[in-house]
Amino acid sequence: MLPVIDIRNVHRIYESAAGYTHALKGVSLQVSRGEFLCIMGPSGSGKSTLMNTLGCLDTPTSGTFKLEGVDVSTLDDDELAELRATRLGFVFQSFNLLPRATVLRNVMLPLIYSDCPVREREERAVRALQAVSLPEAYYDHRSNELSGGQMQRVAIARALVNDPAVILADEPTGNLDSATGEMVLKTFRRLRSEGKTIVLITHDPDVAAWADRTVHIRDGKLLTDEQERALVAADHTIRSST
């Protein structure tokens, strides 16, 4: 089956006043439909850069990226925007909800950019909120009246509402305590069982444990299968010794 995400030999070089930063050094990765993939790596290893590339927010300096078989580099800005509106869902570490708007309004926000008919919107938003099990009593609350875990679930509902091909989550539990984080991860797990494709970034091995597959990134490069095995083995030794 055609992978949802197919990137090959992607490089990303940032140019700034301080000089060049080679953030991605030839990354290749395939994610199949219905997979829950975790990308792990230490700070500064290029996780967010990779995520932005997958989310069509950033264009690679070289290499190819195909989303559902479409070569993204051939698209213009408006087409990329449409792709983000309809095929991609984002979940951020800092939630990024509109604080003054209600929960329902926040979840409906992507729909105004995907030309969804007005009468369908509320229904779709409610369905998305049900999928993240947010109680109905909160739908009309302003989003800044919610707890962190609730906010993140609203954000996931917002990512879901357009029924995207992939949900991209950059450290979604980074701002949450472990119990709330677990609740959010359960939500992802359930979405996974409903057939959603999820790419999640973290530097926390406990979070990675929820995924089907984990890839490690170090200094802009993904570890080879061999290195992965060595890492897992090393990890075991560390764990068993403590």
Binding site: D78, A81, R84, A85, R100, Y113, S114
Partner: protein
């Protein structure tokens, strides 16, 4: 993005910083109220001018003849016959004479004319009535006084004087009527109107006319009547072009109104300059606020882009915001402008009116739909003009950087 969504986003964004928005649009408010107050007052002055002059006055034509031959009453009548474009024409001869009542006397202007004069001039009788055609053909000793003459002869301008006798020159006349005069008869001037034939026989000693006043027919093109009239006089006297140019002075009230317009033009220019400057300052204020707005909402912009907003969606959103801001300022400005115009008219309208020679008429500001439409248009224009740069700046933001902006 649909219009409806755009409107919703704009409304909630404006609602979020209402207080600041109000302060920002102050420049627009001042500019627009200046424009509106000015047009309302000028419109009001024009209206009361036309009202004061009476409807007839727009059709009034003054004809003065300085040809090197005399124009007699008979000539005037013959000319009148030749000019069907006039509803009525009255010949005039001027004189002046010491005029005396039982108690007082003064030097009055005397106008000898025919009864139709008062109709042509649109003068209203305050007391009594006009002298008649019969009086004219009899050379009767009757007079119509204006309020100025009444005041000079009897001390106050509203004295009941019909039936009383006044002496004009060496002869006594019976007062048959009183008409209003400019400024309610203040000043030390006054006019007595007597039949043309009486004036010719008793005062001027000649049957020559000094001029004529004509009332153009309703369907006459007033802008052409000066030339038509000149042409008729030229035909009647059979003189050359030069003689007719030098020997006639014909003007209409329209030309007086036009003159007033030019005078108002200077005032209008100053007010327009004031308004333009405050609109410019207001526009810059709007731009400044929109730039602040964009900076404050960088994360929101990044989010919207990540959620699929196109650059044009962001541009539209911020542009509509600044246009609505300006429009709100415009609406407030229009209301304040009319309010100000009414206040000014109530406080200083009397002074202004008498300064313009309108007597004690009140000036009512004119509410003009054109001015409102124009003001609204200006606001939209300012909103677009000064909102475009901030909106484009918002649209061009990089989504990744914006999302991580602190």
């Amino acid at each position: 993005m649909r219009m409806r969504d755009l409107a919703y986003e704009t409304a909630s964004a404006l609602d979020a910083n209402r207080g600041r928005s109000l302060l920002t649009v102050l420049g627009i408010v001042i500019g627009i109220s200046a424009v509106i107050a000015m047009t309302a007052l000028i419109g009001g002055i024009k209206q009361s001018l036309v009202g004061e002059l009476g409807l007839n006055q727009a059709r009034l034509v003054n004809i003065y003849l300085y040809l090197d031959r005399s124009v007699t009453l008979d000539d005037a009548h013959a000319l009148t016959q030749m000019m069907p474009e006039y509803e009525a024409v009255a010949p005039i001869t001027y004189a002046s004479a010491k005029t005396t009542s039982e108690t007082k006397s003064f030097d009055a202007s005397v106008v000898g004319t025919e009864p139709v004069y008062f109709h042509v001039m649109g003068l209203k009788f305050l007391q009594g009535e006009n002298f008649t055609e019969q009086d004219e053909s009899d050379g009767a000793l009757v007079a119509v006084l204006d309020q100025g003459a009444v005041r000079n002869l009897y001390g106050k301008h509203d004295e009941q004087v019909v039936g009383k006798t006044v002496q004009i020159g060496s002869v006594s006349y019976r007062v048959v009527g009183v008409i209003e005069s400019d400024m309610g008869g203040s000043g030390d001037s006054g006019t007595a109107y007597i039949p043309f034939s009486t004036c010719a026989a008793r005062l001027s000693g000649s049957w020559d006319v000094s001029g004529m006043v004509g009332l153009a027919s309703e369907d006459t093109d007033i802008t052409k009547i000066v030339d038509t009239t000149k042409h008729k006089i030229q035909t009647y006297y059979n003189v050359d072009d030069e003689a007719i140019e030098d020997g006639t002075y014909i003007y209409t009230m329209q030309s007086v109104i036009d003159e007033l317009d030019t005078m108002m033009g200077a005032f209008q220019l100053i007010m327009t300059a004031v308004a333009s400057i405050s609109l410019l300052v207001g526009g810059i204020g709007i731009m400044n606020m929109m730039l602040t707005n964009v900076t404050e909402r960088i994360r929101e912009i990044g989010l919207r882009k990540a959620l699929g907003a196109r650059s044009s969606d962001i541009t539209k959103q911020f542009l509509l915001e600044s246009v609505c801001l300006c429009l709100a300022g415009g609406v407030i400005g229009i209301l304040l402008g009319y309010l100000g115009a009414y206040a000014l008219a109530a406080l200083a309208g009397g002074t202004m009116a008498s300064g313009l020679g309108l007597g004690d008429t009140t000036i009512t500001p004119a509410i003009d739909i054109h001015a409102v439409v124009m003001a609204t248009g200006i606001c939209v224009l300012i909103g677009v003009l000064f909102g475009y740069y901030p909106a484009r700046r918002a649209a061009r933001l990089d989504p990744v950087e914006s999302l991580h902006y602190q």
